[in-house]
């Protein structure tokens, strides 16, 4: 528990530090909203022309899109700083996390806060609420609990992916371009029903790399579309668990790769 409250205090300090730059904060949030808004506008244009996407109505696709955006924002709460990891490893700035009594990973993730998550979160919630009106779901307490767990699980999958890619920094001193690639894989494939892609991609994203568990499977469960999934409905309900497995593995890899850290200057 002390670990949790300490991490929270460090995160708040990181946030206070980032908020010192007010103009930047404002611009970043607006940019994030604009970026995600454009992405959604594209879907809206397509769907208003064709009516549905692989059997998903506009409301359903928006539901998925909003859910995935919320997941993306939550993942960024702790893994936002990863885009700066390569730089910190190369310059030896990472040293500081290794001489303090808390896991270096937690210290690194809380030293600053990526402000764009607030833009993503606002955009995600807005789209999700509108989509919810369109599809008219009856929210039972159980469904709501599943939604919360699914968001957490999805955020763990996305965050774990960043941790895994970031861990490459210690050995190869470079990870940033791969992180951007990873992010664009998520925003290309996780925002839409996976049924629009080929069977091979669907299979890979379900069983090899659990991208389907980020938003697609939970959205299918909530929208009552489990019949089209490649997994058993029971497994679909367990989607949040996939995140826990994935994060546990990524943290182990990160700690192991950390041994290759060479600092800077001898």
């Amino acid at each position: 528990m002390t670990r949790f409250t300490l991490s929270f205090d460090l995160w708040m300090a990181g946030l206070r530090g980032t908020l010192q730059y007010r103009t930047d904060t404002f611009i970043v949030i607006v940019m994030a909203l604009a970026f995600q808004g454009t992405g959604f506008a594209f879907i809206w244009v397509v769907l208003s022309r064709f009516g549905s996407l692989a059997g998903w109505t506009l409301g359903q696709v928006a539901f998925l899109y909003g859910l995935r955006l919320i997941v993306h924002a939550v993942a960024g709460v702790l893994t936002g700083p990863f885009f700066g990891l390569e730089q910190q490893v190369r310059t030896g700035e990472f040293d500081r996390y290794l001489v303090r009594p808390l896991s270096p990973l937690l210290q690194f993730m809380t030293q600053r806060v990526e402000i764009s998550i607030f833009g993503d979160l606002l955009g995600g919630i807005a789209i999700f609420v509108v989509a919810d009106q369109l599809v008219g779901l009856a929210w039972t307490p159980l469904a709501f609990a599943y939604l919360v767990l699914a968001i957490a699980g999805g955020a763990l999958v996305e965050g774990a992916t960043r941790i895994l890619i970031g861990a490459l920094s210690f050995r190869f001193l470079a990870s940033q371009s791969l992180l951007f690639l990873g992010d664009s894989v998520f925003s290309t494939f996780a925002n839409y029903p996976l049924t629009i892609f080929g069977g091979i991609l669907r299979f890979l994203f379900t069983f090899a790399f659990p991208l389907a568990f980020v938003a697609y499977i939970p959205a299918s469960v909530l929208l009552g579309r489990t019949a089209e999934l490649q997994v058993e409905p029971l497994l679909a309900y367990l989607a949040p668990v996939v995140g826990i497995i994935w994060i546990a593995a990524s943290v182990r890899v990160f700690d192991r790769e950390l041994r290759n850290y060479q600092s800077a200057g001898h």
Partner: protein, 340 residues
């Protein structure tokens, strides 16, 4: 404390860095990208020493000698390639978080404070991280504020602090949890004379009052002369000398220098006609109106030399220079590079 365990044990410590071999030429960069050949460089090449509790040690050597690499292994930042290493009974890199509770680290070149926040917030976060009891935090911070004069800038964001202020902040942040060992890597680099002296006094105080073991890495030998009883001198990843400053001076630079100012500064001052061919004496430097004689006091006692000089030349002033650590170390490095 005779018989007690050394707080730091280093035995045969080695660290090598491996990097892909660079190929020259226009397509070299491409070849480097796919090469399976590596160049291996040993930064630390079999270092051994022990440190007792409460010692204040100067860990010195030229650029690239392996000082920082050793410190980074001692603090747990780097994993040694081979060799034994224990700090307060722990293997630093293996038990990083427990080890962190025992140590304090200051890197002169790089701040560990929260860059965008007022200095006081860094101290508060450190207190939380090390679970420092509030009353002890209040008492110790009060003491540091007084010793280091922190009050005038404690509410200023770290990025706006001067180098000297930042260093005082970093020292406080590294010592608030009362660590058993502190590593100070170039704590006075880039500071003015007053700031340097303040830092030195503080280090001395902490070592004396709390019995904190201090490992000091520096290029400023005045730091070492002022603070350290023992020095460990390393070069090319190996220990060149380990012992007291006095013994080093006595064994490596026994010679002193007699500076003779001559009464007339005419070119014909007589020193050329009547050369000094005395045993254990050599002319180190000759300028218009003055001459420097290097002599070995064991062979030629100072009074005898002065008598001889006064008898031969007309002298207006005399002074004797003691060897300082800097000249000793310069001598040592030069001797080392002469012998391949």
């Amino acid at each position: 404390m005779p018989g007690s365990e050394p707080i730091i044990r280093v035995d045969g410590l080695v660290k090598t860095f491996r990097s892909p071999r660079r190929h020259p030429g226009p397509l070299g960069a491409l070849r480097t990208l796919f090469t399976r050949e590596y160049t291996v460089k040993s930064a630390v090449d079999g270092i051994s020493f022990n440190v007792d509790r409460g010692e204040l040690i100067g860990y010195i050597g030229p650029n690239g000698a392996g000082k920082s690499t050793t410190i980074k292994m001692l603090t747990g930042i780097l994993v040694p390639t081979s060799g034994e290493l224990r700090v307060a009974g722990l293997v630093p890199w293996m038990h990083r978080e427990e080890n962190a509770l025992n140590i304090g680290v200051v890197f002169g070149q790089r701040s560990q404070l929260w860059w965008d926040l007022p200095l006081i917030e860094s101290f508060e976060l450190v207190a939380k991280m090390y679970r420092i009891a509030p009353e002890r935090y209040g008492r110790d911070l009060g003491r540091f504020r007084e010793l280091l004069g922190l009050d005038e800038f404690i509410a200023t964001p770290v990025r706006q602090l001067s180098l000297g202020q930042r260093m005082r902040g970093d020292l406080t942040a590294a010592l608030l949890h009362d660590p058993r060992v502190v590593y100070l890597d170039e704590p006075t680099v880039g500071l003015d004379v007053v700031a340097k002296e303040r830092i030195r006094t503080f280090i001395e105080e902490i070592n004396r009052e709390r019995g904190t073991t201090v490992i000091l890495t520096t290029h400023d030998l005045a730091d070492v002369e002022r603070l350290c009883r023992r020095i460990i001198l390393i070069d090319q990843g190996k220990v060149l000398y380990d012992g007291t400053v006095e013994r080093l001076t006595a064994s490596y630079a026994p010679d002193r220098v007699l500076v003779v100012r001559l009464a007339s500064d005419s070119a014909n001052d007589g020193t050329n006609e009547r050369p000094l061919d005395l045993p254990g004496v050599e002319v180190a430097q000759r300028e218009a109106g003055s001459i420097r004689l290097r002599f070995d006091p064991a062979v030629m006692p100072a009074p005898t030399l002065i008598n001889e000089v006064v008898r031969r030349y007309s002298v207006s002033d005399l002074s004797i220079l003691e060897p300082d650590l800097e000249s000793v170390i310069r001598e040592l490095y030069e001797r080392r590079s002469a012998v391949p």
